[in-house]
């Protein structure tokens, strides 16, 4: 018996070496997708039968209970398959996650596999391009052909290097409580063309006439910045808020005033609730924990990332929800909204077991078993494997998928990444919005002060 397994191992080793030679002989230096996929599969079966020293990997992510449970199960299934690899999970809420990650990266003890906020990656790579591996270098260990190549290029790819792999397809979207909307006689447009920024105000007024304690959109300062201010300015100017190449603002003071005036109109016409009403729920994506949202009688709609759509609709089980269209101005130079991804997976370059970490991610993204366990806990899966498994399980139905469908079909705005997604810049936007919300200054005054702070931020980056 023992002899047989030795012979088998030897045969496998020969196959493995042959595989490596095939890659090495590629004179152009680039591995084609088919070869990479084939090699990854060959490697895996060989790896299974080899004798290995035990390897321990750390995997760090944030998210709710559902995601944690599914991820832990996937880890278990992986460990059962590759018994020499142990994965230590490190998970919790998103609160303080980035602070922890930065400290760990700078002190060189980051986890091997890291869930990453898309907005943070450019900053990290800019300070040190040796924090994370380029997945293209490990195409023999992970099959990247199951991703749509343009999606990979737009997500996690910086300067041609694939530092992050998108965990799913999502984006800022709009959902509404159809039960309440029908009761109040509110008809949301069913095409992108009919939905503009004034539509929101008109519908909001209509709702106020029906019930003066109801608001059309439940929205806090973070979502106002992400789903109103950024898209509005993107549509108005056609440029991202900061042009990273020149470190200049992509809009003028007048344009910012116009945007802030629109936000003021939303408050003045009671389309959105006063910030004071939702202050206790507005930090950390928790608007759906507001009893007024749960009751389903105060707020009709909500702007959110489609990855939280399931959670938000589950909060009010008695209501029927639908995905709506996001507003676009008639002369828009850019759609303003777009499908991107909620997080990336990265592998730390300082990891002692990069290959095993990549192997885990190959399992995580490309194995049917993992796809069945993970389903949509990180939104609609980005790989063909994940999508077909979820479709078979009937998991690709529901509000999250509806929002993604609308995004993919109709909105192709510019994915803003870089300086504008850094925390300090985002804070300036949120501060401007809360000043408007609390009436502390006219749009002109707030814009002037805001631009000074943004300029100060940009200067500190040079």
């Amino acid at each position: 018996m023992r002899k047989i397994s030795r012979v088998l191992a030897l045969v496998m080793c020969v196959i493995l070496m042959a595989g490596l030679c095939a890659c090495g002989s590629d004179t152009t230096g680039t591995t084609t997708a088919a070869e990479a996929g084939g090699t990854a599969a060959g490697e895996t079966s060989a790896a299974l039968d080899e004798k290995h020293d035990p390897v321990t990997l750390r995997f760090m992510w944030w998210g709710g209970d559902e995601r944690a449970e599914a991820t832990l199960k996937a880890i278990e299934a992986f460990e059962a398959k590759y018994d020499w690899i142990t994965i230590e999970p490190e998970y919790g809420s998103s609160d303080g996650y980035q602070e922890k990650l930065t400290t760990q990266l700078s002190s060189g003890n980051a986890a091997d596999i890291i869930q990453m906020g898309p907005g943070w990656l450019p900053g990290y790579v800019k300070s040190n391009d040796n924090y994370f591996i380029d997945f293209n270098d490990y195409a023999d260990r992970i099959d990247l052909t199951t991703f749509e190549s343009s999606f990979l290029e737009q997500n996690g790819n910086i300067g041609g290097k694939q530092y992050g792999l998108p965990t799913g397809i999502s984006g800022y979207s709009f959902i509404y409580n159809k039960t309440l909307a029908d009761k109040a006689g509110i008809l949301f447009p069913d095409s992108k063309e009919e939905m503009n920024w004034d539509t929101l105000i008109e519908l909001g007024k209509q709702l106020q006439a029906y019930d003066s304690s109801a608001y059309l959109v439940d929205i806090g300062d973070s979502e106002l910045a992400a789903c109103i201010m950024r898209p509005y300015l993107l549509q108005l100017t056609g440029s991202t808020m900061v042009v990273d190449a020149t470190a200049e603002l992509g809009f003028t003071e007048e344009e910012l005033v116009q945007c802030l005036t629109y936000i003021k109109d939303l408050y003045d016409n009671k389309v959105i609730p006063p910030l004071a009403d939702i202050a206790a729920y507005s930090s950390g994506d928790s608007l759906q924990t507001d009893p007024k949202w749960i009751s389903g009688e105060t707020y009709v709609g909500m702007f959110l990332s489609s990855s939280t759509a399931e959670v938000a609709t589950a909060a009010c089980p008695d209501c029927e929800f639908a995905a709506g269209y996001m507003p676009v101005m008639s002369s828009a130079k850019n759609d303003g909204f777009y499908a991107n991804c909620p997080q990336y997976m990265c592998v730390s370059k300082s990891s002692e077991h990069i290959e095993e970490a990549v192997m885990f991610l190959d399992y995580f993204y490309n194995s049917e078993e993992a796809a069945e366990i993970l389903t949509t806990v990180r939104s609609v899966p980005p790989t063909s494997v994940g999508q077909s498994v979820c479709a078979k399980l009937g998991k690709l139905e529901g509000i999250a998928k509806d929002t993604v469908d609308i995004l993919q079909a109709s909105y192709h705005g510019t994915n803003e990444m870089g300086m504008t997604t850094e925390e300090e810049y985002g804070q300036i936007l949120r501060d401007m919005i809360s000043q408007i919300a609390y009436g502390q200054g006219t749009p002109e005054e707030v814009a002037k002060n805001g631009i000074t702070l943004m300029q100060n931020f940009l200067d500190s980056k040079n």
Binding site: T102, E423, S434, S460
Partner: protein, 301 residues
């Protein structure tokens, strides 16, 4: 010429150093080094991931001339200190006076009043406070029960800071224990003499009790002021500095600059400014103390 005898180091002398070595190592590594390093960083641009880059006084200039948040934050901290320090002193003195009485079960009552301070600075209590003072929290429910209008304790910029001050004032236990000890030290003979002369309770309190416990008032005032100027936890957990930065204490600004914006140099600058303010306030308080603090031994030890 006489030979000067140089004292040789003996084993005995070295032993002393060995004994204090654990403390010395801790002090040098965990206190003196960070202290000096932060002074150096305050003149640098330092984002943790790259090595610090010397920029001279730039951070200080930005802080005082460009950063409008700093002024706001400074004012919020000042108001917070002006509310919490007197509030805590008065509250703890009142409770101490109450607990100084001889009644049944006094030890239990003293313990109960001290409990909030055991939780001092804890995140759990701050979260509890947040839940209690939410729009649909228990406090507004009680107000509603009494037919009083509900108050936006956390959402209204004019009220939020006061809500947080209340939490701080509620944690009066440590000052109270010290006041209680001081009250016990006041010689009973003074009160007896005053009573014979016909002084009422108020006179006794203002003429005997207060002057006798001024050293403890002074001590508590200094400690509480230092604490208040460095406050962070409650405001960070309950309102995260909001709404509209109404509770944006210097401690929160310091944390955000350091761990969210990764401007360690700038954060060090802020911490040195806070240090300077605390130093100045403490010196001023000490200067003023000779006028109002009464020491039985004339202040000489």
């Amino acid at each position: 010429m006489e030979k000067v005898k140089v004292k040789r180091w003996r084993k005995r002398d070295c032993m002393g150093l060995v004994y204090v070595a654990p403390w010395l190592a801790g002090f040098l590594l965990l206190q003196l080094y960070p202290f000096l390093a932060s002074l150096y960083y305050s003149f640098c641009q330092y984002n943790v991931m790259a090595s610090p880059e010397w920029v001279g006084l730039k951070n200080y200039i930005t802080l005082f001339t460009v950063d409008t948040d700093f002024k706001k934050s400074f004012m919020v901290t000042l108001v917070y200190t002006l509310y919490t320090v007197p509030g805590k002193l008065i509250m703890s003195l009142l409770v101490a006076l109450l607990l100084n009485k001889n009644m049944k079960g006094i030890n239990l009552i003293r313990t109960v009043f001290y409990i909030p301070s055991l939780f001092g600075g804890s995140v759990a209590v701050a979260l509890l406070w947040k839940l209690m003072f939410m729009d649909d929290g228990v406090i507004n429910a009680v107000l509603g029960f009494l037919h009083l209008p509900a108050i936006q304790w956390l959402g209204n910029p004019g009220v939020a800071l006061k809500t947080i001050c209340m939490l701080e004032i509620w944690q009066f236990g440590s000052s109270m224990v010290m006041f209680l000890a001081a009250l016990k030290q006041v010689p009973a003979s003074l009160y007896e003499a005053a009573q014979i002369d016909g002084a009422d309770k108020w006179k006794c309190f203002f003429r005997i009790t207060l002057p006798q416990i001024t050293p403890i008032i002074f001590f508590n005032m200094i400690m509480q002021t230092i604490n208040a100027l460095q406050a962070y936890t409650s405001a960070a957990v309950i309102t995260n500095g909001g709404p509209v930065k109404a509770t944006y204490l210097l401690g929160i600004k310091l944390y955000k600059e350091a761990f969210q914006n990764y401007k360690m140099g700038y954060a060090s600058t802020i911490s040195w400014v806070i240090f300077a303010v605390i130093m100045a306030v403490t010196l001023l308080l000490f200067k003023s103390s000779s006028g109002w603090v009464y020491y039985e031994d004339g202040g000489e030890f």
